[in-house]
Symmetry: C2
Amino acid sequence: MHVLITGAAGMLGRKLAERLVADGTLGGRPVLKLTLQDLQTPPSFGSEETAVLPVAGDIADHVLVEHVMAEKPDVIFHLAALASAGAEADMEKGYRANLDGTRGLFEAVRKANYAPRLIFASTVAVYGAPLPDVIDDDFALTPLTSYGTAKAMGELLLGDYTRRGFFDGVALRLPTICVRPGEPNTAASGFFSSIIREPLAGKPAILPVGEDLRHVFASPRAATGFFLHAATMETEALGTRRSLVMPSVSATVGEEIEALREVAGEKAVALIRREPNEEIARIVSAWPRAFEAKRARDLGFEAETSFGDIVAAHIEDEHGGTPPINA
Amino acid sequence: MHVLITGAAGMLGRKLAERLVADGTLGGRPVLKLTLQDLQTPPSFGSEETAVLPVAGDIADHVLVEHVMAEKPDVIFHLAALASAGAEADMEKGYRANLDGTRGLFEAVRKANYAPRLIFASTVAVYGAPLPDVIDDDFALTPLTSYGTAKAMGELLLGDYTRRGFFDGVALRLPTICVRPGEPNTAASGFFSSIIREPLAGKPAILPVGEDLRHVFASPRAATGFFLHAATMETEALGTRRSLVMPSVSATVGEEIEALREVAGEKAVALIRREPNEEIARIVSAWPRAFEAKRARDLGFEAETSFGDIVAAHIEDEHGGTPPINA
């Protein structure tokens, strides 16, 4: 089979591509070809079984997208997006990537006329305050960013295109992915990962909020699992409601720190420097604190069940089982 | 002040324009100019106080819309849309009018850079089965038509543009407007009006569904009231949630018929011919049956409180108090 990943140079896209090449199969069928689209040149790392075709270009470039779709990939993972902070800072660029890019892809799939499975990476940023303590699957979409707005619009479009039979779409509302590997970034959510990742590497990290802040998390490994399950599950049970809140661990910053202490002790925790930042505290206080995610769990989606499991996944996947601070 | 109505040749647009010219004021300020946009030439019927400018052109024509916005109307009523059946039959035309038209207008307002009040006619078609018996204000958007999908997308965009300060937007989710004046049409919802309107005029009407079907209604007069209230209310209380389910009468077809019997007797009811239509029954069974509409009521929006009131409003507004069948 032929699989397409848009946004394949991003953290989740890369992980998903690596997993597909490592598995060599998806839903029991060999992955013979993997097309990886991204604005930057996506990584190219095929195997004997899987040919990887990197396509460098803009998801909002309709000619490029129609060209890619002419190959009729059997499964499409649509991850390309301009992330939250970028879409907030440059509204036109954000809507171009997140709305026009998504709509252009959906239109190209419609015109290719063969109804593939299409998995859309959405986000819990489709929800914003005021929110209940635990959000159920029927709660209204209440985005408070241009990123969350465009993702919510993409979800609606996906529902309509699926209803009309142009593709078999599933939108996954991803929680904050934690622990993100790589360098610290400037995203408001960056500290959720950096207060674990940096101390485990023996480096200092800044905590801009209080320990009682609660939010929702899943590991990059769990997110990859969501994508693969969505690509291979039976979709009849979804009916016309094609957007699913993914399961996640609801944890406070204090619980994050406890999980860090458990694996790396006080010396790791001591690397967290408290520097309260009112602007970041204001932004993250509007974010979801917990989800029921009943539909997704009933449909077989699985996340970690504690923040300790999330830290363990990070140590296994990024440090081969032993973090530098314990080495 | 200067008021713009898009879709001004439609039934609700015409009623709203007539009311503004009749009142001569909006929120206590004289309406000196009224711009009426529609694809067809909109009606022109100014008064000594109010100059009416009819603009014939497509809402999705960005040049036209930017030209209209150059005049910086103080209040914008955005009613232009391709209705449900049309948008379902011609998907591209539907998204062009209902999504691109709305987005183009919002963009033109943003570029005009003066943050007017903007009222967007949305619809309860943003909801589709399975639905609870009574839908609360926090229920998810679950459209089952391309029309409802595009309206829901427009609502999300309105929320984001309002949050960013480009305009002061309010989206009104209108129930089925009943009794619609004019000729019977082919819309699936047409019978809700025609089983009242036609018998009152001494003419036969077809009822394609059972009497226990329940749905939500407001009169054209109430809808005009919604628009005027949304244009003049304080919007601070809305916060970031700018889409409001309007109040409505929840009534069964049987209750409609009882209301008809009350004012026009058995001879009117006898004009209703039962012709069950499975396709229409299937479509309307997916529609909302009742709304709490707590936020809108708390904010001062008012609808009729019984189907009898809706029939009375129709008889007053369309027949001067006495329907032909009683004359």
